[in-house]
């Protein structure tokens, strides 16, 4: 399988965690790392080019830091422009059908803060439900999200461990070693990987 990572981070130059996570991620020829803010600094997203890219891949990954419980703005713009009716959804929109959809999220707060009744009062899965539904509407198969919590105070070792988990999983995806049905039983990809180990 071929993986397309749509990466969106407006202050990548200041990001520690994401620099480590993304470093070397596109060394595999089956992974395309697509840095949206670098490609479209004036937000002039090239719809045709994006759709061509999507056509060439089987797994679509949104990789972003959680900003205000949502994606950075360019990723919303990307959805608004690229996921056209008749192409991505609707009776004739089957371009994305059966592709896998994955969210790769970094969040500043600790895992505990993302719980009902706690600081943010929502789980990450609850917050990501619009993206999940977008994927469903586009006939994609959403995977559970991969989340790195507590980036405001994370140590390098911990980031590297996450990176290892992530790369291992991506490798399995590429080699078709992942059983989608088993995955569905997990709320977060992190749990699935932990179980495997």
């Amino acid at each position: 399988m071929k993986i397309l990572i749509l990466f969106a981070h407006p202050a990548f130059h200041k990001s520690r965690v994401n620099k480590i996570l993304t470093n070397g991620i596109d060394e595999s020829e089956n992974i395309t790392f697509h840095d949206l803010y670098q490609e479209y600094p004036e937000l002039d997203i090239d719809v045709k080019r994006e759709q061509d890219l999507l056509n060439k891949h089987d797994v679509i990954v949104f990789h972003f830091p959680l900003f205000w419980y949502s994606t950075p703005s360019i990723l919303k713009e990307w959805q608004d422009l690229v996921l056209e009716h008749g192409w991505a959804f609707g009776s004739k929109g089957n371009a994305l059908k059966d592709k896998l959809f994955l969210c790769l999220v970094t969040a500043g707060g600790p895992q505990k803060a993302y719980n009902v009744g706690d600081f943010h009062n929502h789980t990450i899965n609850q917050l990501l439900s619009p993206l999940r539904q977008t994927a469903v509407l586009c006939k994609m198969k959403p995977l559970p999200p991969f989340v790195v919590y507590g980036t405001h105070a994370i140590e390098k070792d911990e980031v590297l461990r996450h990176k290892e988990d992530l790369f291992y999983f991506l490798d399995q995806l590429i080699n078709n070693q992942i059983n989608g049905e088993i995955l569905e039983n997990f709320e977060y990809l992190n749990d699935f990987i932990a179980k495997q180990n």
Partner: protein, 635 residues
């Protein structure tokens, strides 16, 4: 002789300058003003001019020739082709029906023989191109259906004069006056008729071919000298040359120049030709109208007031009747039809020519021709009044007045945007506008440039945009935006001043080249002032930063912020610089201002402004808490 010329010129000009504004003020239109001026200075009122009025009229008829050239320039060949039905149909039926009816009436009411009656009928069937077109265009009605149809009929009449002139001598019943030498002695006289026809056709074809393929090249050479008066001379030469040529082969000069005008209607020099010929045409036409007024023979009229009045009334009534019927038959609505009929219900200037020709050839005698000439002149003078009557009293009974129908195809020069200067800068704007489906009118002073761009299919016209008449010709009255994209600073200033003075409604956007121009233009209260170097330099600077490894979106934000700040600061500086301008040399001043600017940049732009994306302060506040929670979990 010299003194006489200046005296005459003074009388004519003074009459025009006094009478026309008064007539316009009274809502009568300029044509009536000229005619009244002519009557007043003529032999029967003040007597400033005598019988020489007739000669002046022959000379001033050249104004009609120029007018048809200008009308031709306004008329794309495709539009002319669309008008072929009204020209042949309306025009043909009108001329034939009027001729028959007038001939019949003359034969019924007078003892004249049929030949004389027919000559009178043919002559009176024609209307006055000069008066009708001038009045219609002054009222802005030339592009209405009624106006276009009136024009078509006039055009047919202009063509019809040629066979009528050839036919008249055949109607001769007496010896005639044959004033020697006055007869037209053309080149082709005496040649066999087939050869004559061939020569006439050859002349027409060569006018079309030369106009289409050679003239632009010649005009470009002339324009390259950058001597404006030389271009005017060339334009006059063209019109006069065609007039001479047409006279030599026995065709109507008006028709020839009209044809040349139509051929040149697509040329890039169209606006410039219009602008150059227009004042001559205006003056000569005015002179012509004055001469018509002066030539009205009041002595004759006072001797036979009843007869003349009857002829005038009969002439107008017959023509009105036929025009209304023909117009109705060709499906014109009431309002158009009335405009059409009232416009054309008079005798024309051709009547003067035809009647004197008929006299020479013994078709008519003075006792018939002179009252008719007087009646025609009076009917011409009455035309503006009749049209006024129609407009004010009759039209209101027939519903809405016809307004000009805007057809994008026909009046393609009436664009919302005028771009002055079509070099590297203006052409980029032009391409961008075109790419977004916005047509603009382009003006450029470089003939080579204009030629090249027209080959690429763009609507570019040659001319100096700082001339208000050229801006006018380019449609400045109807345009909304004027884009000044010329290279020279002085020219930019001139264009802005002209436009602000003559077309205050136009919103202006200018390109400036140097800092000083930029500051000067900022004070002009324009819609937008653009430094040509600013944006490209900034983009290049931004690319430098991204090649050095800066994130592109960060660089983009920085660019926009810098530009905004830069423009605000420059505007501030423009306000304050007046106070010190006289003390410091300008060059020095610019350097100092640049220094101030750069200090300000460092102060404001260099600070990272994207605080929303920056998690530094969040980390400071929340990191200890998160660490504490982790520690608790690990314990």
């Amino acid at each position: 002789m010299e003194g006489n010329f200046f005296y005459q010129a003074f009388v004519y000009l003074a009459a025009a300058v006094i009478a026309v504004p008064v007539a316009k003020k009274l809502g009568l239109g300029s044509v009536l003003g000229y005619l009244i001026a002519g009557v007043i200075i003529g032999p029967y009122v003040l007597g400033f001019i005598g019988e020489e009025g007739q000669d002046v009229m022959h000379f001033a008829e050249f104004g009609v020739v120029m007018m048809l050239f200008l009308v031709g320039l306004e008329l794309q060949p495709s539009l002319l082709w669309k008008l072929r039905a009204p020209i042949l149909g309306l025009g043909g039926v009108q001329v034939i029906a009027t001729t028959i009816l007038i001939t019949a009436i003359v034969m019924l009411l007078t003892p004249l023989v049929w030949q004389m009656a027919l000559a009178i009928g043919l002559t009176l069937a024609l209307s006055s191109t000069a008066i009708v077109l001038q009045t219609l265009s002054e009222k802005g009605l030339l592009k209405t259906i009624g106006g276009q149809n009136a024009f078509s009929v006039l055009l047919f009449q202009d063509i019809a004069v040629i066979p009528i002139l050839a036919f008249l001598p055949l109607l001769a019943t007496t010896e005639g006056t044959h004033s020697s030498g006055h007869e037209s002695n053309t080149w082709i006289e005496g040649m066999p008729i087939i050869l004559q026809t061939l020569i006439v056709l050859g002349v027409i074809v060569s006018i079309i071919l030369i106009g289409r393929y050679a003239i632009s090249y010649a005009f470009r050479l002339i324009a390259q000298t950058r001597l404006r008066e030389l271009f005017t001379a060339a334009a006059l030469l063209l019109v006069i040359g065609i007039t001479l040529l047409m006279t030599q082969v026995g065709l109507s000069p008006a028709l020839g120049t009209f044809l040349a005008g139509v051929v040149l209607a697509q040329s890039e020099y169209r606006h410039e030709l219009e602008t150059d010929i227009e004042p001559f045409k205006g003056l000569l036409l005015g002179l012509f109208f004055i001469a018509v007024g002066a030539s009205i023979d009041f002595k004759l009229i006072f001797e036979n007031p009843a007869l003349i009045a009857a002829i005038v009334a009969g002439l107008i009534a017959v023509k009105l009747l036929i025009l209304i019927v023909v117009g109705r038959f060709f499906g014109m609505r009431n309002d158009s039809n009335l405009l059409f009929a009232f416009g054309l219900a008079q005798g024309g200037e051709f009547a003067f020519v035809l009647f004197s020709y008929a006299l020479q050839n013994g078709v008519l005698t003075g006792s018939e021709a002179n009252p008719l000439i007087a009646a025609v002149a009076i009917s011409m003078a009455l035309t503006p009044l009749l049209m006024l009557l129609n407009e004010k009293l009759i039209q209101p009974y027939f519903g809405t007045k016809e307004s000009v129908e805007k057809k994008a195809d026909d009046i393609d020069e009436k664009n919302e945007v005028i771009v002055a200067g079509f070099g590297r800068y203006g052409s980029t704007i032009g391409r961008f506008l075109q790419a977004n489906g916005t047509q603009a009118t382009y003006l450029d002073i470089d003939p080579n440039n204009v030629d090249l761009l027209r080959k690429l299919g763009l609507k570019v016209f040659y001319g100096d945009a700082s001339r208000h008449d050229l801006l006018h010709a380019a449609g400045a009255e109807d345009a909304k935006l004027l884009i000044v994209a010329v290279d020279e600073s002085e020219k930019t200033l001139e264009i802005v001043q002209t436009a602000q003075k003559h077309f205050p409604h136009l919103k202006i956007m200018v390109r400036t080249k140097y800092w000083n121009d930029y500051y000067d233009m900022l004070e002009k209260n324009l819609l937008g002032v653009y430094r040509e170097f600013s944006d490209t330099a900034l983009r290049m600077g931004a690319d430098v930063l991204s090649h050095l490894g800066y994130r592109k979106n960060q660089v983009q934000r920085s660019l926009r912020k810098f530009r905004k700040h830069d423009e605000e600061y420059a505007t501030d500086l423009a306000k304050t610089r007046h106070e010190q301008k006289n003390f410091i040399k300008r060059g020095r001043q610019v350097i100092e201002e640049l220094e101030l600017l750069m200090l300000d940049d460092i102060d404001k732009v260099a600070k990272d402004k994207d605080m929303g994306w920056d998690t530094e302060t969040i980390k400071e506040e929340f990191a200890p808490m998160i660490r504490m929670q982790k520690d608790e979990k690990n314990l």
